[in-house]
Amino acid sequence: MYSQETKLAQIGNRSETATGAVNPPIYFSTAYRHEGIGQSTGFDYIRTGNPTRKILERAIADLEGGDQGFACSSGMAAILVVLSLFKTGDEMIVSKDLYGGTYRLFTEHENKWGVHFKYVDTHNLAEVEAAISENTKAVFVETPTNPLMEVTDIAAVAEITKKHDLLLIVDNTFYTPVLQQPILLGADIVIHSATKYLSGHNDVLSGLVVAKGEELCQQIGYYHNASGAVLSPFDSWLVIRGMKTLALRMKQHEANAKAIAEFLEGADGITDVLYPGHGGMLSFRVADESWVNPLLQSLKLISFAESLGGVESLMTYPATQTHAEIPEEIRSARGVCNRLLRFSVGIESAEDLIQDLTQALVAVREGVKA
């Protein structure tokens, strides 16, 4: 049994035996020849299965400690595949602080198909348990949450879901299996926007699902193939390529984020720093809403852009970007106020990043004075 680092570096190696290629080939073939009736190599049609995608799917299942992995064309496509498990009348309990795209999808699902979503603070176990009704089928947890970095005790929630025979679904995008393996803590399904840390280079859109249990895997596999939002061979290969450096990148992201959280804690004009202690994501609030735009415009190294988890540092304004889908009243009540900025700390030199923040904060303060 190898460590996560070793597993990551070795993804795809030894998968190809005809030529011995260390790096797995990209199979663009959409169709696969059959030797005869009823005879298949295991690959028939690209939507159902593709050798390049399979390597990625096996790798993520192995890293997460699940039975099977499913590669999807985006993180949202991955969530949609999982939503296919539920029917009209079913209820799901969801982390209140949630990615805006997931919220939008859930709302659409509720309005059109009558699947109900109850939003609670999933780090408050009593609140989770109190929300359960006879129609509840699953608990959906983001931890740490986006963008408030609230941490839910996965193992404790798993005890509740097991007791009530519910599925526990965890979005593990922020921590990745290098830092957190929800299935080993009792979850049934793990979801990833692999666009983020897993691929890690801000250059490929992708989603992954991992499930534990034969029946559950079969059901998800059915919808994955039937709805067809699968990941292309080239993009599968790019995600694999990104994952080879995942452990190293996470180490650097975390070291940088720790240094920056410490810097921000002591910086003038920063009122709160939200950092859960691990990973490369943090959020902070500036003293005044009017500071936000000048701050973003003064940054020279850090890019003002949506998304996260890449090697380049990106700063996001949740109010108008990731969480624009949530009405302002609800959004602000949850803490995603107009003074909040989210920072995906890249793997640049921490000193350079701190220097950039320092000069931007100085520029903002001078602008305010003038």
Binding site: S3, N23, H201, N202, T245, E348, D352
Partner: protein, 389 residues
């Protein structure tokens, strides 16, 4: 421009973002030709061999990292090396390190000789030998340090001084260390060469070569050759190398630390005859290495008792890939006698100390403890009878 550290430069190269769309990742310009608006003066780009926007970003990035004036991207390391050698003319002479990479050996001995360019092989670690090999027509001194596969260290500064006195150019193959550890141009060299297939790209999935020069005049001459011969790097591959570069510093940090740990482990193992690694305390080139580079690199070689022991070891080793090449995410174990230095011939190999029981290990990104455990079980499987033969 704000002066950033190397690791930041790797991620935020001259590109920064695409002006039109704001895209953070460099677009791949597969276009082979470019619209022109003026009959008399063409735009920056006309034909992709002469210049390509994706390739440009890579060329600017490597020039920035090596501290040169211009970078050049080629289809392979050998294309970079061969094109650089074509700066020479008939009647010129090259002084070259004797344990040079087998592919470079092949070009110098079998191709350049046909163009009337002669050479002398020297032990580049012996300054007196280098001085003695200089002829009135010597135009290039070619170094590889650490050398392949014996990891001998050449004093780049000292050799560059000799070359300057002789009016010769100095070429340094910097593949093994990369500019994060060693910057030959700052030590006095004129041309830096890379097989970017190795650490720079780093994922065993793209073949590429790079050259960087120190002055404008040389840049013009090499650009002429790059365009004239056309062994350039494709836009797709340029993009892949750029993608690889973004994690170069974290990959090297890990692999160098792993190589140090493995070298120390091998040194204490009774079935290992000798370990070659410039990071080891007793390596003869250690002082020079640490005066011109930041570490000992991620490649080491080691010798077993004999070929039979080597065969038994290879039959049992599971984790590193047994293959040609180096500088990858996967650890690669190579057999120089039959791989990188097969082009050299047995006699030449033995003269240089590249024995039939020598293995080269390029440390990858696996956990070093997993690698050591694997090497340990493979060494345990080597029968004592094989060792004492």
């Amino acid at each position: 421009m704000t002066k950033y550290e190397q690791d930041t430069l790797l991620i935020h190269n001259g590109f920064k973002y695409d002006a039109g769309t704001g895209a953070v990742s460099v677009p791949i310009y597969n276009s082979s030709t470019f619209h022109q608006v003026d009959v008399d003066s063409f735009g920056k780009y006309d034909y992709s061999r002469s210049g390509n926007p994706t390739r440009d970003v890579l060329e600017e990035t490597i020039a920035l990292l090596e501290g040169g004036v211009k970078g050049f991207a080629f289809a392979s390391g050998m294309a970079a090396i061969s094109t650089a050698f074509l700066l020479l003319s008939q009647g010129d002479h090259v002084v070259i390190t004797e344990d040079v990479y087998g592919g470079t050996f092949r070009v110098v001995t079998e191709v350049l000789t046909r163009y009337g360019i002669s050479h002398t092989f020297v032990d580049m670690t012996d300054i007196a030998q280098v001085e003695a090999a200089i002829q009135p027509n010597t135009k290039v001194i070619y170094m590889e340090t650490p050398s392949n596969p014996l990891l001998k260290i050449t004093d780049i500064r000292a050799i560059c001084e000799i070359a300057k006195r002789a009016g010769a150019l100095t070429f340094v193959d910097n593949t093994f260390l990369t500019p994060l550890s060693q910057k030959p141009l700052e030590l006095g060299a004129d041309v830096v060469l890379h097989s970017a297939t190795k650490f720079l790209a780093g994922h065993s999935d793209v073949m590429a070569g790079l050259a960087v020069v120190k002055d404008e005049e040389l840049a013009k001459r090499l650009y002429f050759l790059q365009n004239a011969f056309g062994a350039i790097l494709s836009p797709q591959d340029s993009w892949l190398v750029l993608r690889g570069l973004k994690t170069l510093h974290v990959r090297l940090q890990h692999s160098v630390a792993a190589a140090e740990k493995i070298a120390e482990y091998l040194q204490t193992h009774p079935k290992v005859k000798r370990v070659y690694y410039p990071g080891l305390a007793d390596h003869p080139g250690r002082d020079i290495q640490f005066a011109q580079a930041t570490d000992g690199g991620a490649v080491l070689s080691f010798e077993l008792e004999n070929e039979e022991a080597l065969r038994q070891f290879l039959a049992h080793v599971k984790l590193p890939v047994f293959a040609v090449s180096l500088g990858a995410v996967e650890s690669i174990l190579s057999y120089p006698a039959k791989m990188s230095h097969a082009a050299m011939g047995q006699e030449e190999r033995e003269k240089r100390g590249i024995s039939a029981s020598l293995l080269r290990l390029s440390a990858g990104l696996e956990n070093p403890n997993d690698l050591i455990r694997d090497i340990d079980q493979a060494l345990a499987a080597v029968e004592t009878s094989a060792v004492s033969l």
